[in-house]
């Protein structure tokens, strides 16, 4: 768990702009991403959440004391996955392995509120959890020309691309 190199969304986007553009399009289009977290007993949990990029950080607000938020406070390891709608969704799967960091800075929380309000005309007014996702690796998998196209980016290893028969 220690020692994993993590970066912000902005750092990832600077290093791999084309891959980040695909991810951004997916996140904005579906508005909902799925977050995989770990329950207290170590078994997996899936939760749909709304996600925004706020001043270069990938963030998600969660209801106060919700189970998924408590999961992430206990163990920050998580995966953020954009939604796909059918087997051969042309845009493919975009997934980010990350560490969720609890955002307590009032300025950052306020900026999140502004970005959220600009998108959906609503922002939380009471207590809520806010997480910033620090990125460990990004994977994009899509199908085209009857091949499976796999792209992976890590802060240490850069971009790796592979084309395989499905």
């Amino acid at each position: 768990m220690e020692g994993a190199v993590v970066v912000t969304w902005a750092e990832f986007a600077e290093a791999a702009p084309d891959l980040a553009a695909v991810g951004l399009e997916r996140i904005k289009r579906s508005e909902i991403v799925l977050v995989g977290s770990l329950r207290r007993d170590g078994s997996p949990r899936i939760s749909p959440v709304e996600s925004d990029i706020v001043d270069g950080e990938l963030m998600a607000g969660m209801m106060w004391q919700s189970r998924k938020a408590l999961d992430l406070l206990r163990d920050p390891r998580c995966v953020v996955h954009t939604t796909v709608h059918d087997r051969m969704d042309a845009m493919g799967e975009f997934k980010i392995r990350c560490r969720a960091a609890d955002v307590e800075d009032p300025k950052k929380r306020d900026r999140y509120g502004e970005v959220l309000f600009a998108r959906i005309d609503w922002r939380p007014d009471g207590d809520f959890h806010l997480f910033s996702f620090d990125i460990e690796s990004v994977t994009h998998l899509h199908y085209g020309d009857l091949k499976k196209h796999f792209t992976m980016w890590t802060p240490g290893g850069g971009l790796v691309t592979r084309v395989e028969d499905p």
């Binding site: 170590g42 997996p44 899936i46 998580c78 995966v79 087997r87 609503w122």
Partner: protein
């Protein structure tokens, strides 16, 4: 832990709506990786003989996840937006069990073929999903039409209606 049929007998309404959504046909499946972190991927759940299954291709490293830690979580995606849109989530949690007997294998393959989909490959790994808990969440939105698309009305966040069923 129970099979899908036992759940459906106990909670027919939840099961009927869940089945509709599980057949979309993509759902999300979470497992635990070797290092203990969560893994998430889309797949098509399989049904045969009133039992719920998933198959994992022989080349996927995730097939080993369930041999080390049988715990899974299966989650449906919200339906497409439309005038009667309800944001409906269906979540199943439990333990997966690898199945290798020919009768079950054939039953799953036959059921898939009947739905117009490919039969299992010989080297696929087939798991039956035993069910411990089912959770449904419905967010009833007020829908508005913009152009030819329906969207949830902005500025309104509905309260979710949740229902939990736990296997006896």
């Amino acid at each position: 832990m129970v099979s899908w049929t036992e759940f459906a007998e106990a909670e027919p309404e939840m099961a009927a709506r869940g089945l509709e959504h599980l057949k979309i046909p993509i759902a999300y499946f979470a497992t635990v990786r070797k290092d203990g972190s969560p893994r998430l991927h889309p797949l098509s759940p399989l049904f045969a003989d009133g039992r719920l299954f998933v198959s994992i291709t022989a080349s996927a490293p995730r097939r080993h996840d369930l041999m080390r830690n049988r715990r899974y979580s299966l989650h449906t995606l919200p339906p497409d937006l439309g005038p009667d849109y309800d944001e409906f989530e269906f979540n199943v949690t439990g333990s997966a069990r690898r199945v290798t007997d020919t009768a079950t294998w054939d039953a799953v393959s036959d059921a898939e073929q009947a739905r117009g989909r490919p039969r299992l490959n010989d080297d696929d790994w087939l798991f039956e999903l035993d069910i411990e808990m089912v959770l449904t969440t419905v967010w009833k939105h007020e829908m508005v039409k913009t152009g030819d698309q329906w969207f949830p009305k902005a500025g309104v966040v509905p309260q979710p209606t949740r229902r939990v069923w736990k296997a006896p």
